[in-house]
Symmetry: C2
Subunit: 129 residues, 2 copies
């Protein structure tokens, strides 16, 4: 498919994909996609990533229930980063991070250290059984 060939996949056949909450604009997380992950995402309308640690496709929420409905997929000028505008769903809506937080970007640089500023919304022990 031509539109897949327009993406500049890296040496491992991957590109980073940013998940941004459509309603709030919050950047939730960054994961990786290969051709199949992107094709599946567009087919399902739900985010499917490539897990580098597990070496397989990973449907977001397959274990946590925290699925991402994909409203829009954008490509940058260089063709090497994807931006997904999503709705973060689940039993507890709005949790994208495996730590039980809204966003994976919960640490802020302050005077030489990374300070955790966002609360845990649900104990991860209750998310991953």
């Amino acid at each position: 498919m031509d539109w897949l060939d327009e993406i500049r996949w890296d040496g491992a056949g991957l590109v980073p994909a940013i998940a941004q909450e459509a309603a709030s604009g919050d950047v939730l997380m960054v994961a990786w996609m290969n051709r199949e992950a992107l094709a599946r995402t567009l087919e399902l309308g739900e985010a499917v990533y490539w897990s580098r640690s597990r070496g397989r496709l990973w449907r977001k929420g397959e274990e946590s229930g925290h699925v991402q409905a994909v409203r829009e997929v954008r490509l940058d000028c260089d063709g090497d980063v994807l931006l997904l505008r999503v709705e973060q769903r689940g039993h507890e809506p709005g949790i994208a991070c495996h730590t039980g937080r809204h966003s994976c970007f919960f640490r802020v640089w302050r005077d030489g250290s990374w300070v955790t500023v966002d609360p845990v919304l649900k104990d991860p022990k209750g998310i991953y059984r």
Copy 2:
């Protein structure tokens, strides 16, 4: 510096850095940072990236004038992606992309093709002399 060691730099000593407009929440661009780029960014309060194509530090706006004042730097749970909350400045405020557009993510996937949906705000010929 400890806080630099908490970042999981890749094999090339880099991590991706997302620039997000603080006021609008718009994701403007993604570039790369090494240790020095991040240290300089925090020192200056303006975004400094590592240009992989030029193999050197690149102060955003050094040619275009489209500098990014950095309000906040966040690190994700894995420690391998940075999120910069910025104010996109310059003679023409709000232009982050070298194509003269607000954001680098100006193409949307629609029915099997990437459709350009955002306007050019300034002709690049007038940006890079």
